[in-house]
């Protein structure tokens, strides 16, 4: 039988049926008897000592402060990197508040509106302190966020390789100061928690919109000082995560504690205002970067200093330094070079804690490197792609270890860039640029980057954060009717893993997709996992499912062989059947026999049954490296500063694609977010640390009218490090756009002598730069 639903097939997503009919179950769809709503009193100021909190009269049992949460431990996310200073994040503020929106008290009522009435009646007195808002100023500020620290730096890192090269003159040296904006990750569904106490199981049951149910359980158990077995965490349908839900939340701890103490379920549903004002939490980088190159543009090295605005606290489990530590190791991008020096600072500021956002650190790094590289190209008199081709790691060099020790598993980066460029008629565009007069200009830009995915034990053990991924496990279990259940500890929240993991199982066993169910997002039903992040699921959970199904196939084979009266080594399992030399038997018949007619089997056949738990770790855990080139044509209205994307091409290599349509969806969705980073999204703060936006009218997200349909090309270079040659590609779409679009805008503005170095590229920024140049 031909495999039509297996690896490489664009099978329709199994989860779409319920989602397209509006029949999914998200956190706010959950109704429990007696459930009451929570609303949080949040800090209106960025930095202050709390002098007093006064509950409204008669509200002793409906309003709770840190004093009430007896025994609850603060959230602490350490890192093992030398010099890291951990912060202590109380789940409700104790002496101090350190960012606008920090939770101070929690109010319980029979509806959210009534809980907000209580919030309005709680009085808090503050002694305001100066706010530390700018990350560069934070480094030297006299004001300390954390009283016992000697500066506002979570971590400083420094790496250098052959740095003496930077003391010698180089034919080309280009230096740039570049900045990216602080963004609010904005999944369609916000965060939310429902917590209840199960009296029969004597177990706390927490439904939460998370990417990491098992990690949340571990974190909750630590804060509540519970045995982990006394807690069950369930992630129901989750409407997008992107990293926003890869965290243990103070709100989760509060809701859990209340559920244990109040005798009724509670829920908290985050609203857009909370998301925007209390959670501007990603992407804010500042670079001082110099590229050294030969006269022909070949890269000699990068000398850089980067500051990441890590916000007020080290968030659990990824810590405050993940982003900056990554910057130091990934800044060389997909290029070969001999010299490298990079110093990074994770600055503590009076803003919400930084979280890893899709393409962690990479979209900023790609922007910094690729924008500066275009300046090198201009200086060398080369087209942008020509300068890149000089230094991109060549296919012959694979596998390749770069200057920071990153191990590129496979691929042809140069070919990838060439294919993307070939899709854009660059000579015609150059001609058009020369002919164009007037205020409308067109420009071309490109970027190329790699996406390390599913990096594992050794990498994370090196960082020493609270969570280190090891073996990823899956349970493959036949049901008596011949169906298959796959239980995995990751969580699918838009990635289509209910489909793709089933496709992996189908590839091995040939059981129809319609008979395969993927169970995920529940600590009681699934094996332990660090969850869904870092584009790891297809490699890790896919590898685990593949491994479990292969073991299951062995067992099915032994039973089938008995039914066929053939030696076990003579049968083959696949395509839904067990085939022997003289006949075959359906896998469903094997299942039926084992479960329902055990009398037909001798005692020494398949005692282990048709349920397998298997763990998977790749032979080398440095990660798969997918990569992509983005090529963009924009028009810029130089009178109004407006940018329009005219053409967008992506050439992507994700190795063996399990489901090409789902991969395209990941690429398009990521690209939309990258366009937001490039052109629209910014949560600005004033000097007092006040966020300057509280609705989606102020915080602009790209919508259908701003996101073009990219043309996507695929290369399919298998990874030697994964079970089926697949690579993680969940984040790449978001990495390339800021750099490519900035380069295209700068190309359009080059005749005016103007270069944009700060994101997002707003009309105001473009116009101000043009006017400043003209003045």
């Amino acid at each position: 039988m031909r495999v039509t639903e297996g690896i490489g097939q664009s099978a329709p997503r199994l989860e779409d049926d319920r989602h397209l009919r509006g029949k999914g179950e998200f956190i706010a769809d959950i109704r429990l008897a007696g459930m009451r709503d929570l609303a949080f009193v949040r800090s209106p100021v960025a930095h202050a000592r709390i002098r007093a909190i006064r509950k409204p009269a008669g509200c002793e049992t409906t309003v709770f402060t840190s004093h009430d949460l007896v025994g609850v431990q603060p959230i602490v996310a350490v890192s093992g990197l030398p010099g890291f200073k951990p912060s202590v994040q109380p789940v409700l503020a104790t002496e101090k508040v350190r960012h606008v929106g920090e939770a101070i008290a929690v109010c319980v009522a029979s509806s959210r509106a009534e809980a907000e009435d209580l919030v309005a009646a709680v009085e808090v007195e503050f002694d305001e302190l100066p706010a530390v808002v700018d990350m560069r100023k934070a480094l030297t500020s006299e004001t300390r966020l954390h009283d016992h620290w000697d500066n506002n730096v979570f971590l400083e890192t420094f790496v250098q390789v052959a740095a003496e090269r930077f003391d010698e003159p180089a034919p080309i040296v280009v230096r740039r100061r570049l900045r990216t904006a602080r963004q609010c990750m904005s999944p369609l569904e916000g965060r939310g928690v429902v917590a209840t106490w199960d009296r029969r199981l004597e177990q706390l049951l927490v439904y939460t919109s998370t990417q990491l149910p098992h990690i949340v359980r571990t974190g909750l158990a630590g804060c509540l000082r519970f045995d982990q077995a006394r807690i069950r965490v369930v992630a129901p349908d989750v409407g997008g995560g992107f990293g926003y839900k890869g965290i243990l939340l103070p709100e989760e701890v509060c809701a859990a504690w209340l559920a244990c103490h109040l005798g009724h379920p509670v829920r908290w549903i985050e609203d857009r205002r909370e998301q925007l004002t209390a959670n501007g939490n990603c992407r804010e980088h500042d670079y001082d970067i110099a590229l050294y190159a030969e006269a022909d543009g070949t890269l000699i090295g990068i000398d850089a200093e980067a500051v990441v605005d890590a916000g007020a606290y080290s968030a659990y489990p990824f810590s405050a330094c993940l982003e900056a530590a990554q910057v130091a190791s990934i800044l060389p991008g997909p290029y070969a070079m001999s010299a490298y020096r990079c110093r990074t600072f994770s600055a503590a500021t009076n803003k919400p804690p930084i979280l890893p956002y899709r393409g962690v650190a990479r979209s900023g790094v790609c922007f910094a490197l690729e924008v500066t590289l275009d300046a090198v190209a201009r200086q060398a008199g080369l087209e942008p792609h020509e300068v890149r081709l000089r230094s991109l790691v060549p296919a012959e060099a694979m596998p390749f270890e770069n200057v920071t020790g990153k191990y590129f598993d496979s691929g042809d980066y140069q070919e990838c860039l060439r294919r993307a460029i070939a899709e854009i008629d660059l000579p015609a565009l150059r001609k058009r640029q020369v002919e164009m007069t007037g205020s409308l200009r067109v420009g071309f830009g490109c970027s190329i980057f790699c996406e390390q995915a599913a990096h594992g034990t050794s990498v994370y053990a090196g960082w020493g954060i609270p969570m280190v991924p090891g073996f990823e496990q899956a349970i493959a279990r036949m049901t008596p009717d011949g169906g298959l259940e796959l239980r995995v500890g990751i969580q699918s929240h838009g990635q289509g893993l209910e489909t793709t993991l089933a496709q992996v199982a189908h590839e091995v066993l040939g059981i129809p997709l319609a008979s395969i169910r993927v169970v995920h997002g529940d600590t009681a039903l699934t094996p332990y996992s660090t969850g869904t992040w870092g584009s790891r699921c297809m490699v890790m959970a896919g590898g685990a499912v593949g491994t479990a199904c292969r073991e299951l196939a062995e067992r099915i084979g032994r039973i089938g062989a008995h039914l066929l009266q053939t030696p076990a080594h003579a049968v083959r399992v696949g395509g839904g059947i067990v085939t022997g030399p003289k006949g075959s038997v359906n896998i469903a018949e094997v299942a039926r026999t084992w479960y329902l007619r055990p009398q037909d089997l001798p005692i020494d056949v398949a005692g282990g049954g048709l349920e397998v738990t298997a763990g998977y770790r790749p032979p080398r855990d440095s990660g798969t490296f997918s990569y992509a080139a983005h090529a963009v044509v924009v028009s810029v209205d130089t009178e109004l500063g407006e940018v329009r994307i005219i053409d967008y091409v992506i050439c992507e290599d994700g190795g063996v694609l399990i489901n090409p349509t789902i991969v395209d969806g990941q690429v398009i969705g990521g690209t939309a977010q990258g366009i937001g980073t490039a052109l629209y999204e910014q949560m600005a703060y004033d000097n007092a640390g006040q966020p300057l936006g509280s609705t989606l009218a102020d915080y602009i997200l790209p919508g259908a009218t701003e996101v073009p349909e990219p043309r996507i090309l695929h290369m399919l270079t298998p990874s030697p490090l994964s079970l089926f040659g697949q690579k993680g590609i969940g984040e790449g779409g978001a990495i390339g756009p800021p750099a490519a679009i900035a380069n295209a805008v700068n190309d359009a503005l080059a005749p005016l002598g103007v270069e944009i170095t700060e994101l997002p590229i707003t009309p105001e920024r473009i116009l101000s730069a043009i006017l400043a140049r003209a003045a």
């Binding site: 509806s111 959210r112 509106a113 907000e116 009435d117 309005a120 609203d271 205002r273 009178e639 109004l640 500063g641 407006e642 629209y680 509280s694 609705t695 009218a697 602009i700 790209p702 919508g703 009218t705 701003e706 707003t762 009309p763 105001e764 116009l767 101000s768 006017l771």
Partner: protein
């Protein structure tokens, strides 16, 4: 967030609505497209909401030889769909279809837009350029005001306590008149960050620049020159160079449209 507690009444006549609107803590509620978010963010915490968009007195449309009179509670969608008589060139309908998104237009009303007086609201600028006037009904009777007197600043109007905007009288465009309307927005349907409406007819030229921090700027006849416009905008003293430039460019483009 959710709104603070309030009472909600649907009066059945304008007289009743005026009486209720005069009560302490009362607030008129039309399509709710501006007031709704303000309630939910608890920026507005009225004691009583007086819902007016089902009142027949505020729904009607009348036309005579000189003008079209539009009930305050006619929605942007109704105007976009051409459900009211044309004042000429399909002007009102073409403006209406660029306001926000269809779901907002389905509920949002022309009167609500004027009473809310967001400096970036399309109707505020356009109707000022057309020299429209508003008809108000209050506890002390009815009165009419020209748009330029009705709009007093950002989110400020000449409405007195208890007064309700009943209708807007928009003069028909003379056959010889030309107009141009232009705005700059980050996304289609978003509030503009620069806008200009231009009205040209023999012997009378007017341009209105909106989306400023306060009341729109009206330029008439000679003041419409680039120098005049620059001076008028500089006089407000709140625009940085980039903003000033955007406004001038948008004005220029609106003029070009009118002259085309």
């Amino acid at each position: 967030m959710k709104a603070a507690p309030f009472e909600h009444i649907c009066p059945t006549s304008l007289a009743e609505a005026v009486a209720l609107a005069g009560e302490a803590g009362a607030r008129v509620f039309a399509g709710g497209q501006s007031l709704g978010p303000m309630l939910n963010l608890r920026l507005a915490q009225p004691r009583l909401l007086v819902q007016v968009n089902r009142l027949p007195e505020l729904a009607g449309v009348a036309a005579d030889a000189d003008a079209v009179t539009i009930g305050a509670c006619v929605t942007h969608s109704a105007i976009a769909d051409g459900a009211i008589p044309d004042i000429g060139h399909g002007l009102l309908s073409r403006v209406a279809e660029t306001i926000a998104y269809r779901p907002v237009r389905n509920r949002g009303t022309i009167g609500g837009s004027l009473c809310h007086a967001d400096p970036a609201a399309d109707w505020v600028t356009v109707l000022m350029a057309l020299d429209a006037s508003v008809r108000l009904q209050g506890p002390d009777g009815a009165r009419s005001l020209r748009m330029k007197d009705f709009i007093q600043g950002a989110f400020r109007t000449a409405l007195r306590p208890g007064e309700i905007l009943r209708a807007i009288r928009v003069p028909r465009l003379p056959a010889s008149a030309r107009w141009g309307y232009e705005k700059a927005c980050r996304k289609p349907g978003d509030f503009a960050h620069a806008m200009a409406a231009v009205f040209l007819s023999p012997g009378r030229c007017r341009a209105v620049i909106g989306a400023l921090g306060g009341k729109p700027v009206i330029l008439e006849d000679d003041a419409m020159s680039p120098i005049g416009a620059t001076r008028a905008l500089e006089d407000i003293g709140e625009l940085d160079q980039a903003r000033l430039r955007m406004q001038l460019v948008v004005l220029d483009r609106a003029l070009a449209k009118a002259r085309a």
